[in-house]
């Protein structure tokens, strides 16, 4: 057990909530107190488990529709049809869904699904980018510097915005290569965590809300918007990454 007067401070230190003076003081203390050092290590391990395990309960399918239906909103989900004609439509739709599902799941019979492969690829790229000197080609917190930097380097212009006010400052950008094509990588920071946002154009313009995956302890959010594919990767927890993905989608 850690030395008593330091116990609550250890937790504030772990949560990056301790001021600089007391952080230094605690670091000094830990050098001569193996118990406190051990405690920090244990708590860090525990936190990794809490954040990387699948402990986040996402809303079950159907809850959003239920809520929308109960509120006077503009975009209601279409009610389930009841008439005879609609039954046939439902059967036809079910067949289409089955076909699409079979087609989508085919790769997972052969190996792994495309999303899994993509998740693997972006996580590898993210890890590679964190090696010294790999993170940024253009280092700037100014969106008007980062965006034009991509001119002439890519055949599209990625949307670049700074979210410093929301606690996610823009740090810079670089060129990367994802899913067999060049992509823009934008780098953001949240406290001590880096976030890579990969952007590349999609052949079909469709909007899809963010969905979350995790691989090797990293969280990944994918979404499509305005003809672009977006993919944010970080060791941030699910809640914060989701918050960030929402900011980008606004």
């Amino acid at each position: 057990m850690a030395t008593d007067p330091y116990t609550p401070l250890l937790h504030a230190y772990l949560d990056s909530e301790l001021d600089l003076v007391r952080s230094l003081e605690l670091e000094e203390h830990m050098k001569s107190c193996p118990d406190c050092a051990q405690e920090i290590w244990t708590q860090q391990t525990l936190r990794q488990g809490l954040r990387s395990g699948n402990l986040y309960h996402r809303a079950p399918a159907g809850l959003e529709a239920r809520i929308r239906a109960s509120l006077p909103l503009e975009n209601k989900v279409i009610e389930m049809p009841r008439r005879n004609f609609w039954n046939w439509v439902a059967v036809a739709a079910a067949i289409v869904v089955a076909l699409v599902l079979t087609w989508r799941m085919l790769p997972s019979f052969l190996g792994r699904s495309q999303t899994d492969l993509l998740a693997q690829e972006v996580v590898s790229s993210h890890i590679r980018s964190l090696q010294p000197g790999h993170l940024m080609d253009v280092e700037s917190t100014d969106q008007h510097t980062v965006k034009p930097w991509f001119n002439g380097k890519l055949d599209f212009s990625p949307p670049v915005k700074d979210f410093a006010e929301d606690g996610f400052p823009l740090k810079g950008g670089r060129l990367d290569y994802i899913d067999h094509r060049p992509a823009a990588a934008l780098v953001y920071q949240r406290q001590k965590h880096f976030i890579n946002v990969y952007v590349w154009p999609e052949s079909e313009a469709r909007d899809r809300p963010a969905r979350l995956e995790s691989a090797q302890g990293y969280n990944i959010a994918f979404w499509e918007r305005g003809g672009m594919y977006f993919c944010a990767v970080s060791d941030l927890n699910t809640g914060e990454l989701q918050q960030f993905a929402q900011l980008l989608q606004q």
């Binding site: 057990m1 116990t7 609550p8 250890l10 937790h11 504030a12 949560d15 909530e17 118990d35 051990q38 405690e39 290590w41 244990t42 708590q43 391990t45 525990l46 936190r47 488990g49 809490l50 954040r51 395990g53 699948n54 402990l55 986040y56 309960h57 996402r58 809303a59 079950p60 809850l63 959003e64 239920r66 809520i67 929308r68 109960s70 509120l71 006077p72 909103l73 503009e74 975009n75 941030l236 927890n237 699910t238 809640g239 914060e240 989701q242 918050q243 929402q246 606004q250």
Partner: protein, 183 residues
């Protein structure tokens, strides 16, 4: 007429600002009441309330605003339906550990499975559980948690310290039990 347009504008804004926090709302309710169906009902009721009071939302952190409503609704539900779960105390005797010192404990915490963590969190008293969820799963700062739960920041800090300590004790205890079953 102008009232109508205002209402439509409000509904649109509600969809953009509040509806995206559905996962966060469900996550908190689910951890507080520990039941899927009840959590869904609570989230739906919270959204109805949020919609009703939305004109009073002054801007700012919309997630925290919604979560405060979810939290209140969850506690009202617990008080009415499961008052015992609010009075749950941490049973020191059940979770007392006799493992060999901090080194052994660290080893036990390492590589713990999600399932065990989930059960351990569920076993924590609700006040510790909620602060841990807000901190670790929602990534909220002490200040944000203090405002949401309506306690001083010092209390957030000490509750986190105690909650984490207890969580570890439960895990160590669970591991010992599994270990002894294996032999």
């Amino acid at each position: 007429m102008p009232e109508d347009t205002q209402e439509v504008g409000n509904a649109g804004r509600f969809e953009q600002v509040i509806l995206p926090h559905l996962d966060a709302a469900y996550n908190l309710a689910r951890w507080l009441v520990r039941n899927q169906q009840d959590a869904q009902d609570i989230v739906q009721e919270s959204y109805l309330r949020a919609f009703k009071f939305f004109s009073g939302f002054q801007g700012g952190d919309s997630r925290a605003w919604l979560l405060k409503i979810v939290r209140n609704t969850s506690y009202t539900f617990l008080e009415k339906n499961r008052p015992a779960s609010l009075a749950e105390e941490f049973d020191e005797k059940v979770h007392a550990t006799e493992a060999g010192g901090p080194d052994a404990e660290s080893e036990m915490v390492r590589g713990v499975e999600s399932r065990m963590l989930r059960e351990a969190l569920d076993a924590l008293p609700v006040n510790f559980r909620e602060i841990l969820i807000l901190r670790e799963l929602e990534g909220m700062s002490y200040k944000e948690i203090a405002e949401l739960v309506n306690v001083p920041m010092g209390t957030v800090m000490s509750s986190l310290a105690r909650g984490r300590e207890r969580l570890r004790e439960i895990l160590v205890h669970a591991r010992e039990k599994e270990g002894s079953r294996g032999h």
